[in-house]
């Protein structure tokens, strides 16, 4: 086994000059080494004569068409991260507008008057605090994502691209 490994390393040119000389000497003096060397040499020539397999003739066209489709689809799509911030942003804005509208004309007022909802258990300052905090969290989230995107831009701009798309 060690002999085979040495011979193959010699054929591949992976041995040092001293080791290569030792193999050359063994091949020249030992008939078994010579036979093994010749058979590996023949095998190497055989493997080298083989060619890569070829895909179908339409492979390049199909691949380019796929790239074209994916590129177009990606330019239209919004990344999940951005979609999350878009949705939560609109939700936050909508709810804030509802809360800060004059109570008599707001949707809440209508719900309370119809007896569907009772917001008495939450104080107005509590609501302001809740939505103030959520707004701050949302802003910090956006800043955090932007920071990751910018800091990773030099190494791999894929995330940056994803956020921009």
């Amino acid at each position: 086994m060690e002999r085979d490994e040495k011979i193959l390393d010699y054929i591949d040119g992976l041995l040092s000059a001293k080791e290569a000389e030792q193999v050359r000497e063994m091949v020249a003096s030992d008939s078994e080494w010579k036979a093994r060397y010749d058979s590996f040499l023949e095998m190497n020539a055989l493997f080298n004569s083989t060619e890569l397999l070829t895909p179908s003739t339409s492979f390049v066209d199909q691949t380019m068409a796929l790239i074209d489709t994916e590129t177009k689809a990606e330019s239209k799509s919004v990344s999940p991260i951005l979609r999350f911030f878009q949705l939560t942003g609109w939700l936050w804005l909508g709810l804030t507008m509802l809360l800060f509208t004059d109570f008599n004309t707001s949707v809440f007022s209508q719900l309370v008057q119809l007896g569907i909802a009772d917001f008495a258990f939450i104080s107005k300052s509590g609501i302001h605090l809740l939505f103030g905090n959520s707004a701050m969290l949302w802003v910090f989230g956006v800043m955090f994502i932007a920071y990751i995107a910018v800091s990773n831009y030099d190494e791999d701009n894929s995330l940056f691209k994803e956020i921009l798309n």
């Binding site: 992976l14 590996f40 083989t50 397999l53 070829t54 691949t63 380019m64 791999d156």
Partner: protein, 179 residues
């Protein structure tokens, strides 16, 4: 004719047409590399296409430290692993099916016969061994490059390649005797 470096720079600058030349140049290598592990032309083409789409998307991250073909092979290796883990393919069953198809092929010239014999022997090897041999001989990747593609130590690749070659040689000899 543009060099590979020029083509890559052109693609990075937004020239999609330059990428066509890169696909044409490396299609056989990627296809062979994938085929060695999945043993199905249809699946290999699908995965190889996916590899080129991924490579196009992330070409900006290719810095040129390694050969472009090595980078493509690394993507191909990962994509094939993902595909296989999803499909949970049983290699032995596929090999048998493929060998049956090969047996019915019409005999041709001695050179073609010899190439067919090697191909048949390759199908009998474990997928990892066949892949490593293809990368070394047909893909012209060095041991260090194969190590990078397969995420292995160079020495481990050397040992694996050595064993794979001996196995392939024995298989070819057995098939020749059977004939």
């Amino acid at each position: 004719m543009m060099t590979e470096e020029q083509l890559i720079a052109s693609v990075k600058a937004g020239n999609v047409h330059a990428y066509r030349s890169l696909v044409a140049r490396h299609q056989s290598l990627v296809f062979t590399m994938v085929y060695r592990r999945v043993n199905s032309r249809e699946d290999a083409e699908e995965i190889a296409q996916d590899v080129f789409v991924k490579a196009y998307k992330y070409i900006a991250s290719f810095k040129g430290d390694a050969k472009f073909s090595t980078w493509l092979c690394a993507i191909a290796n990962n994509s094939t692993s993902t595909f296989l883990s999803k499909r949970k393919l049983v290699f032995s069953e596929l090999n048998e099916r493929h060998e049956q198809q090969e047996d019915h092929e019409i005999l041709s010239s001695p050179e073609e016969e010899q190439l067919k014999l090697i191909e048949k022997a390759m199908l009998k090897l474990p997928a990892d061994d066949a892949q490593i041999i293809s990368l070394f001989y047909q893909g012209e990747q060095s041991l260090a490059e194969i190590a990078a593609i397969l995420q292995m130590e160079t020495n481990a690749v050397k040992v694996k390649l050595h064993r794979a070659r001996v196995k392939l040689k024995t298989t070819i000899e057995q098939l020749t005797i059977q004939k």
